[in-house]
Symmetry: C2
């Protein structure tokens, strides 16, 4: 079933672990509260669990939003040499797509970030800067 | 730069770890040699490293191929309750997209498969069966 906009409720674990940066056409955009890497999460406003269960318009919208955030990470974080883009959902079943900027000097390269417990919370002022930058491209 | 079809060379590590099942319009389809989970890999025939660097036609083709393989895993492996779809590439830079069928009884649930060394090779006859089934949908 597709959700009406007002029926969307962000999963409580995502809400606890992340900052809400804004909304795109399909997805809510989150920032994982871990400044060790630039780590964004798109949460499509749907109750489908898998990308292949989205209709074609939703898939097209999601791809566009992945492109927007991918290009944002590449341009704003010059140290990033590889993007990790992933829909996993083994722990949080609400569909969400990770977009993580990685580089060989980061805290868990070449391993994946998922499952690694190391983190460093953002300062409030840093989140404000990222929010301002991202709102310039998703407005 | 985009590759001419004959210029595509599969990365040696992917070639060593996987069976080649066939070709779709954009991608070569691989089967990870680990029967602990159904684990397919799409390798777009390009030398771009990131999905966001593909042109729109390539992105559309890739999304279609992800849908085909996702639906194949859902229909052929009824135990699968979650798909993990991911473009990582920290170890193998050639663009490749993992499509892994997961379930709460599998060998590393709820952790991700990447970084886990446990594996169980396929028998030749099992690969032949999977190849035959998949060729029916990608032909």
């Amino acid at each position: 079933m597709d959700l009406k906009p007002n029926d969307f409720i962000l999963d409580s674990r995502l809400a606890a672990d992340c900052f809400i940066l804004g909304k795109l056409d399909l997805s809510v955009l989150l920032l994982m509260n871990n400044q060790l890497v630039p780590w964004f999460i798109l949460v499509p406003q749907t109750d489908r669990k898998e990308i292949c269960e989205l209709n074609q318009n939703q898939q097209t919208a999601l791809l566009k939003e992945i492109n927007i955030i991918s290009n944002f990470v590449k341009s704003e974080y010059p140290q990033v040499s590889k993007l990790n883009v992933a829909a996993i959902g083994n722990m949080v079943s609400q569909m969400h797509i990770h977009i993580v900027g990685r580089n060989p000097a980061d805290y868990c390269w070449p391993n994946v970030v998922w499952g690694n417990q190391q983190k460093e919370a953002y300062h409030e002022s840093e989140v404000a800067v990222i929010t301002q930058k991202i709102r310039g491209i998703i407005a």
